[in-house]
């Protein structure tokens, strides 16, 4: 077996050194009833690399990749072009096959990029400090709720209606057995500004509220000014937690930190990371300096070594489970290191100029598509303001429409019916994402497919 270097001779010699009669002597603590006499029956045996490649290749070929044709699916994960150098660099063995940097003297490579990552994320979100990443956007949001509780010592959260319904589900799941109170607002279908009802949210903030959570751009693509909401929350002693699922938007629209948010979480997949059918992704987490010590997750900090040279270490780990056990801030033990690296590399390639260009391009393409589709009889555009994603209402049900479009080779968007199966009034809705990867030809095909379906 190609990964196992011991030869039968090695095994025999080593058993002799150990003083064991055979390998099973080393497993003598296993209760006899649980000892398997041989390989588990009914499972295949080892397979050559060539055949594994052939079998998995056949499975992969049964899927329709985003790059294969017109693609407009978004709602929390986005198809962007990632430069080839990103994947090349993250595959360097020194990054790919290293562990959590517990020995900083021989892990400065990882630590320095984490420090760069934290700096990029903080600046992108217009906050002061960021952590070294979390599992994904949804778990980052839930951690933000718990942090809100630690900061405010309150336990009621208001979740805006434009927040990704899966993110809301995760928050509801993880507070199911705690005494936290999650108030999830239903999405509003306000013409021109679908998703949130900011006025209602503001209205609901009270002296018990730990935090208000709002996504921007929201699930429906709408972009909003959060300043008023922030002010209202602060007036009641509550925090504003902002969620960003499409971080490319921050190259064009004001960051939550500029609008008064106290904690900003996000899904960083758009930069440097592929779609991967939902994971691994990259949770972003940033906050104000004053709340730094309440922040969950791993943190990398600057220091000096014994010779006075600058260096980096994991820090503030006194909050962590391996020191505090049951008193830890959270039970999180890993981050999304390699995804964070991909983000950092891609962002270094983009820089200020590239990110702004990319964001403008996304927006302009989305405007072009929105205008094209709004011109189709029966199709109505729900958004006045959006970044690279918007909602349309069709004269027909969205979910079967998308399946029919897929058969025409067009992956046309996400149906609101899939995300909100209980909301009959959203059944005809569809969210369409448009990134820089969309070509003119793709737009023509989407337009044609949609016209075909609604005629």
């Amino acid at each position: 077996m190609r990964y196992l270097p011991l030869t039968p001779d090695d095994r025999r010699d080593m058993l002799r050194v150990i003083g064991a009669s055979d390998i099973d002597a080393l497993f003598r603590d296993v209760p006899e009833a649980a000892r398997l006499p041989g390989p588990i029956a009914g499972l295949p045996h080892h397979m050559p690399e060539m055949l594994v490649e052939r079998e998995l290749g056949a499975l992969a070929a049964k899927n329709v990749p985003a790059g294969a044709g017109p693609f407009f699916v978004g709602c929390g994960a986005y198809k962007h072009h990632v430069p080839a150098s990103v994947d090349h660099l993250i595959q360097r063995g020194e990054f790919l096959t290293s562990y959590t940097p517990y020995q900083p003297e021989i892990a400065q490579g990882t630590l320095q990029y984490l420090f760069e990552f934290q700096t990029q994320v903080a600046r992108l979100l217009a906050m002061e400090v960021a952590n070294a990443s979390m599992y994904d956007g949804s778990t980052a949001m839930t951690e933000a709720l718990f942090m809100g509780r630690r900061v405010t010592r309150r336990k009621k959260y208001l979740l805006s209606g434009g927040t990704h319904p899966h993110y809301v589900s995760v928050a509801e799941t993880l507070t199911r057995f705690t005494d936290d109170e999650v108030v999830s607002f239903e999405p509003a279908l306000t013409p021109g500004a679908p998703g949130d009802d900011l006025a209602a949210l503001i209205e609901a903030i009270d002296g018990e509220t730990a935090a208000v959570v709002v996504q921007n751009p929201n699930l429906f693509g709408h972009v909003a000014d959060l300043s008023e909401l922030a002010a209202a929350a602060h007036a009641k002693g509550a925090l504003l937690i902002a969620v960003v699922t499409e971080v490319v938007s921050l190259g064009a629209i004001r960051a939550p930190g500029e609008m008064g948010a106290d904690i900003v979480v996000g899904e960083g997949q758009s930069i440097g990371n592929g779609l991967n059918f939902g994971g691994p992704y990259l949770g972003l987490f940033a906050t104000r300096e004053k709340y730094m010590r309440q922040m969950p997750g791993r943190l990398c900090g600057e220091t000096v070594d014994a010779n006075g040279k600058r260096g980096f270490v994991l820090t503030l780990s006194t909050r962590e489970q391996h020191i505090r056990r049951e008193k830890a801030t959270s039970n999180i033990c890993t981050n999304s290191g390699l995804c964070a690296l991909a983000f950092t590399i891609h962002m270094s390639l983009l820089g200020e100029k590239g990110l702004r260009h990319l964001a403008e391009l996304n927006h302009a393409r989305a405007v072009q598509v929105a205008e094209r589709l709004a011109a189709i009889p029966g199709v109505s555009l729900m958004n006045d303001h959006f970044f690279n994603e918007f909602t349309v209402m069709l004269p027909i049900s969205g979910r079967p429409a998308l399946r029919a479009m897929a058969e025409m080779g067009v992956l046309g968007g996400v149906s609101l019916g899939r995300l909100y199966p209980a909301r009959a009034d959203l059944d005809h809705g569809m969210v369409i994402a448009v990134t820089e990867t969309v070509s003119d030809d793709d737009i023509d095909k989407l337009d044609k497919a949609l016209r075909e379906l609604v005629k």
């Binding site: 003083g19 080393l26 588990i40 397979m47 998995l56 589900s169 993880l174 730094m292 390639l349 897929a406």
Partner: protein, 495 residues
């Protein structure tokens, strides 16, 4: 040459990408344009490649040498797995595409789930947890949901001393009070003490097996029986599954839930700290409470069940909800399945045998000069545990010893864990190290142990001497945290 920070090299007007021109359209941003500088630094592509190449060279990695961190299972990461995960049919599909366009992906998840169930002899598995600790959470939430469904509110979770630190943190996160169970002299759970503590307030026992002393719990079947008899559940931390995969099926021991670290046992790369993946297998009693989503195979088609309302199926009608936005770590599933298929049932069994053999070889060859607290109670499993007894009076600490290993070209073992033992050193070689590599490591360990005893304390005092950095001031970092880069004050900037 020291590599400066990105922000010290780059500038806002440099860029390593070219993009198509922006078509002229009327903005729909609603006046929310971002005017202030973001503060990002850009570089040309070649500079980026060089920056990160240079950074990478400051790291130690499994590709460079043995990485004997106990409990972390740093084994060889096959490159085939990387190649497979990057096939567009896996890497470039969206979690919300119509299911007919991702049948191969769903089939892959289903196939991996089937392997995990059969390797553990457990009837159900929840794939979505994103890491081991996330899996623990998943398992404990299912236990809590199951008990609440019966109206059986219990408040205490028992955790042995030898458990991973995440175990008590997880239990606390689920609202339980945590109580410790002591280890016996042989480094195992004290069965009598456990039995004595069981009662109607105990919801579950969280146990790590093989435990963090690298030992198999011989009473595991009895423990499970006793816990079940008391109306509680057994959660097993599967981080050390590598020691027994293909040799022992945890389901045969009687456990109710166990997470499996795909990034340990099934070799998805650790990537400097993640991403991981922690599917959880469940007993029949807990299966109905497993979280959404899951993949079912019906009428020749794979279906992703993601909404309670729309698809409530009998097998999952008590699902406690959703743990992540989408369906978990697809990229890790592909790698893990490639690894599992490559080994097969026979190869995985060999994995466990070789992992255990390698650890015992180290234990046998070092215990005369180092101190093996449980060395007399028989063989270890996949990791060899030493205490710092042998350093007594030398002035050398476990930390010093570990740092001195760096100067010999090796990554240190896990230090000061498990807590059961003073100044612990936990060494897990894994099955992918050759005998020659083990011999090299053993020579280094023995050499250092003898040097410490011989009073050569200079070799340890400020080690490492030959690393990219000397020891770093962690106290300073924590006292005055600097978590992001700021432009130096103008005077300093003038150089």
């Amino acid at each position: 040459l020291e590599e400066p920070l990105l922000f010290e090299k780059g500038s806002p007007d440099r860029c390593g990408v070219d993009l198509p021109p922006v078509p002229a359209v009327a903005s729909r941003l609603g006046g929310l344009d971002r005017h202030r500088p973001i503060g990002l630094a850009g570089l040309a592509e070649g500079e980026v490649v060089r920056h990160f190449t240079r950074l990478s060279r400051q790291n130690y990695a499994i590709d460079m040498g043995i990485f004997p961190l106990g409990s972390c299972t740093m084994k060889h990461n096959p490159r085939l797995n990387e190649k497979m995960a990057r096939l567009p049919g896996f890497g470039d599909i969206h979690p919300l595409q119509p299911q007919d366009t991702v049948q191969g992906a769903l089939e892959l998840i289903h196939r991996l789930a089937d392997w995990l169930c059969k390797l553990t002899n457990m009837p159900a598995v929840s794939m979505s947890p994103k890491a081991g600790a996330h899996g623990e959470l998943c398992g404990m939430l299912a236990i809590r949901a199951a008990q609440e469904a019966k109206g059986d509110a219990r408040s205490v979770v028992l955790v042995p001393e030898s458990a991973h630190g995440t175990n008590p943190a997880t239990a606390a996160f689920c609202g339980y009070r945590v109580e410790d169970i002591p280890a016996n002299a042989a480094g195992r759970v004290d069965l009598a003490a456990l039995k004595a503590r069981l009662g109607p307030d105990v919801a579950a026992v969280m146990i790590t097996n093989p435990n963090t002393c690298g030992l198999f719990e011989p009473d595991m079947i009895d423990i499970c029986a006793a816990v079940h008899a008391a109306g509680a559940f057994v959660y097993c931390d599967g981080a050390n599954f590598n020691a027994i995969v293909g040799k022992v099926r945890p389901g045969d021991l009687g456990i109710d839930a166990m997470h499996i670290n795909l990034h340990k046992t099934f070799s998805t790369p650790h990537g400097g700290g993640g991403p991981g993946s922690g599917p959880v297998v469940f007993s029949a009693a807990l299966a109905p409470f497993a979280p959404l989503p899951f993949v079912e195979h019906q009428h020749g088609r794979f279906e992703l069940i993601e909404e309670e309302q729309a698809h409530a199926s009998a097998a999952h009608d008590h699902s406690f909800g959703r743990m992540v936005a989408f369906h978990g770590q697809m990229g890790m599933y592909v790698r893990a399945l490639a690894y599992i298929m490559s080994h097969g049932a026979d190869g995985l069994r060999q994995v466990a045998e070789d992992a255990v053999l390698n650890a015992n070889y180290i234990l046998a060859r070092c215990k005369d000069v180092m101190s093996a607290p449980f060395g007399d109670s028989g063989p270890c499993m996949h990791e060899a545990l030493f205490s710092d007894d042998f350093l007594e009076g030398t002035g050398v600490s476990t930390l010093d010893f570990a740092k001195a290993m760096i100067d010999e070209g090796f990554h240190p073992m896990t230090m000061y864990f498990p807590l059961v033992v003073h100044g612990a050193m936990l060494i897990e070689p894994t099955e992918t190290e050759s005998r020659a590599n083990l011999d090299q490591l053993i020579e280094v360990l023995r050499g250092l142990a003898l040097a410490a005893k011989a009073g050569d304390s200079a070799r340890f005092a400020a080690a490492p001497y030959h690393a990219p950095r000397a020891r770093l001031d962690e106290t300073l970092a924590a006292r005055k945290p600097v978590l992001s880069w700021r432009e130096p004050a103008p005077a300093a900037a003038a150089e």
